[in-house]
């Protein structure tokens, strides 16, 4: 494009100013990318699980628990394919600082309900039948140097044992390969429920929640309703929701994260508008004589306007692209905490839209002025 040379020259007229403006826009979109990724990362905590999973907890508060005896009854509800119970352990290894995301469950049932958990067949057999079985993720085993067959002491900050201690001695029966499940969001350890339940002093016979796999995601609402109806007006009423609904609610507990990040992004973009608007205005007013020459040579007013706006677009879009790419790169090392996050398409499109808007708002007013230049006055410097 022959016009491209003009646009390029216009941009690099004052190198320092252009570079600094570019850097500011890059930072702004880097922040936008980071906040969007954090928001998506928190949401992604359970989105690796598909819509065929329901989540049954005590209707008042999860911590109140549900009787394990509910499990066979839930299993018989039409549309239910499989049920597994999870009880939060509050686990740590030797010191409270070494926390583990661990649940007590029927390990055999768990391995059948989640076939995506990778484990050799012999370890599966052992984990299913061993009374004191503990299975851990590959990453956890690597962190503490555990191997199959090790006896490890796991402490619970919640469940005191009948003998007054908090330490449960368990045997590592298998190592889980969680790569197909979203490595960092699935729990890292499971203890055999029967062993746990017999040893603990309180809450015997109860669990924290049931994970229910259903045949058809389209029937999720009906099955959920049927499960809750089974236990309505009982001592432990249930509330069954789809897992992503539950996850989003958990995040909302901490604070209105979306509102906070949107406000920050809004403040940043507002300041950025001033910056790019000022840059474009300065750039155009310095070039009035040159733009007048262009008009003399034959460029129409609309042509000049287009040149200016394209210059602004090139500035904003390229800087936004760099900023978002950087945000993506920055999140690679944080993947263990937030899970595998990359910017989803709607976020990228949103950022592009904002960049275009920024370019238009900062480029149109000076471009309009330039388009309506009276050639004679401009050349004379009036």
């Amino acid at each position: 494009m022959k016009h491209f040379i003009l646009i390029w020259a216009g941009l690099w007229r004052k190198r320092t100013r252009t570079i600094l403006t570019l850097l500011s826009i890059v930072i702004a979109f880097l922040l936008f990318g980071i906040l969007a990724s954090i928001g998506q990362g928190l949401n992604a905590v359970y989105t690796h699980i598909n819509a065929s999973e329901l989540f049954v907890q005590n209707s008042i508060a999860m911590a109140n628990g549900l009787p394990l005896a509910y499990l066979p009854r839930i299993r018989k509800v039409p549309g239910v394919r499989a049920v597994t119970s999870w009880t939060f352990f509050g686990a740590y290894y030797r010191e409270p600082a070494n926390g583990l995301t661990m649940f007590a469950t029927d390990i055999g049932a768990l391995l059948r309900v989640f076939p995506a958990i990778g484990m050799p067949q012999d370890e599966r057999e052992k984990a299913t039948h061993l009374r004191t079985a503990l299975i851990v993720s590959q990453r956890t085993a690597a962190r503490y140097g555990w191997k199959v067959g090790d006896r490890v002491p796991i402490s619970s900050s919640i469940w005191e044992k009948k003998d007054g201690s908090r330490v449960y001695e368990a045997d590592i029966a298998g190592i889980m390969d969680l790569s197909r499940l979203g490595d960092s969001t699935f729990p890292e350890a499971f203890l055999q429920y029967d062993y746990f339940d017999q040893a603990r002093a309180l809450g015997n016979g109860t669990v924290h929640w049931f994970v229910v796999l259903i045949d058809d995601p389209h029937h999720a609402t009906q099955v959920a309703g049927a499960i809750d109806a089974l236990f309505a007006n009982s001592a432990y009423e249930t509330r069954t929701v789809n897992i992503s609904v539950w996850a989003q609610n958990q995040i909302k507990q901490v604070g209105d994260v979306q509102l906070i990040s949107r406000s920050i992004v809004g403040a940043v973009l507002f300041a950025l508008l001033f910056l790019t608007g000022n840059t474009m205005m300065q750039s155009v007013s310095e070039r009035i004589p040159e733009l007048a020459v262009l008009k003399t040579v034959g460029y129409s007013g609309a042509g000049i306007l287009t040149l200016i706006v394209l210059e602004a677009l090139l500035l904003c879009l390229s800087a936004a692209g760099v900023g978002l790419t950087l945000a993506n790169l920055i999140f690679k090392p944080f993947a263990p905490i937030f899970g595998e996050v990359s910017l989803p398409l709607p976020v990228v499109l949103g950022a592009a839209g904002i960049a275009v808007l920024l370019a238009l708002v900062s480029g149109l007013p000076p471009g309009w002025r330039a388009a309506r230049l009276s050639v004679v006055d401009a050349l004379a410097g009036r």
């Binding site: 320092t16 100013r17 403006t21 508060a61 900050s157 901490v254 604070g255 920050i264 403040a267 300041a271």
Partner: protein, 394 residues
């Protein structure tokens, strides 16, 4: 002395000319102002949370939990340990010689947020008969106190706005029973204002339990250490004792740290962007003044005067931005209600964002730093302008 006079003259002359560069100067002010507004807002959340959770704990009150428990909901104190605690000589007694202590049970109630109908959990605390002596700061502001042995509760006033259906006359369900809300209480803005209260015996019978979650006692002034020693003389009861303020602080630690980290992260990233904007402004200012600076140098003003004038301009713009940003944050966010979770099970705690003088000072300090960094390089460039070529520049 003469050098200082020269500097002052150049600085003053520069500042008088500032209105000519209003456009670019505004860019720096708005940029830095935006950063400060955001940083102050996030720090105000931390300050507000600390204010509620850490500063309200009473000096001579202790919380007794099971050894190894980090919060009341994960703790239980066996009934036979209760007399050992109550008989300790360090516990304050009322006029009739009874120990001022309360056996407490905490259970959870589901509540619905007014703003978006999402669900949250708040604590229902069963308190002993000595609660009035233990917590004299609790006052009924609406309705009346709950009566013993009846399923009646009072609600902390912090819960009334953010959550629905909690006014006197409404009902809540927990422990397989319906409870009637008969009153609203205030307790000086401490975490209990985000809770509901009822009698401990009523709550224990509703949940069919006999052991409390915790014991709260009033101690004689300065008797905390002695109390800890007395209890450690009974190792069979497996207890841990904390000052009330330390207990509250531990419950909110995770959230406070998260917010502090967020303030640092956002403040740094935005700060970097603001620095680029500030550099832009200051380089532009120096470039506009090229002839003027060259003239001053030719006249004999030293480079130091030029550097100082640029730095003063940058600092002034930065501080203006900082003041504007802090003022904006104060106008919008001070005393705004926010809620988050605390403790092991994540019960809601309602608090107010506090744009304190300390928080605003932190914001201003950040603005000054940004202004200084933004002005330094351009100032050095200005000092090193080659005089002859600069005078000839158009």
């Amino acid at each position: 002395m003469k050098t200082l006079q020269c500097m002052a003259a150049v600085v003053w002359m520069n500042l008088c000319a500032l209105p000519q560069r209003a456009g670019t100067s505004l860019v720096m002010v708005v940029g830095i102002g935006g950063v400060v507004a955001v940083v102050v807002a996030v720090l105000a959340m931390v300050a507000g949370l600390v204010e509620t959770m850490q500063n309200k704990g009473h000096e001579d009150r202790a919380v007794i939990l099971r050894y190894g428990s980090s919060s009341e909901t994960g703790s239980w104190v066996p009934r036979d340990a209760v007399p050992i605690i109550m008989d300790a000589p360090e516990v304050r007694r009322d006029a009739r010689g009874r120990p001022i202590a309360s056996m407490e049970v905490v259970r959870l109630v589901r509540v619905v947020r007014s703003r978006d109908n999402t669900v949250g959990t708040v604590a229902l605390r069963g308190v002993g008969l000595e609660n009035a002596a233990l917590r004299p700061e609790v006052r009924i502001v609406q309705g009346r106190m709950f009566r013993p042995a009846l399923n009646e509760v009072i609600v902390g006033q912090a819960l009334i706005g953010p959550f629905k259906g909690l006014r006197p006359g409404s009902r809540v369900t927990t422990g397989r029973a319906q409870w009637t809300i008969v009153g609203v209480f205030a307790s000086g803005g401490d975490p209990h204002e985000s809770e509901m209260m009822t009698g401990v015996d009523t709550l224990m019978s509703a949940y069919q339990i006999t052991d409390p979650n915790s014991i709260e006692v009033a101690l004689k002034p300065g008797a905390f250490r002695g109390f800890v020693d007395t209890l450690s003389g009974h190792p069979q009861v497996h207890l841990t004792v904390m000052r009330e303020r330390d207990y509250y602080a531990s419950q909110s630690q995770a959230v406070s740290q998260l917010l502090g980290f967020l303030a640092f992260l956002v403040g740094s990233v935005m700060g970097l962007g603001a620095i680029f904007g500030a550099l832009n402004t200051m380089y532009s200012a120096v470039s506009t003044r090229t002839r003027e600076i060259a003239t001053l140098r030719a006249l004999g003003f030293g480079p130091a005067a030029i550097v100082v004038s640029v730095l003063v301009e940058a600092l002034l713009l930065g501080v203006t931005g900082g003041v504007a940003g802090a003022a904006l944050a104060w106008l919008i966010f001070d005393r705004v209600t926010a809620s988050t979770v605390s403790g092991a099970v994540g019960t809601q705690i309602v608090f107010h964002m506090a744009v304190t003088p300390g928080v605003m000072a932190a914001g201003l300090a950040w603005a000054t730093a940004l202004g200084a960094v933004g002005g330094l390089l351009p100032a050095l460039r200005a000092a090193r302008l080659p005089v002859a070529t600069a005078l000839a520049a158009s």
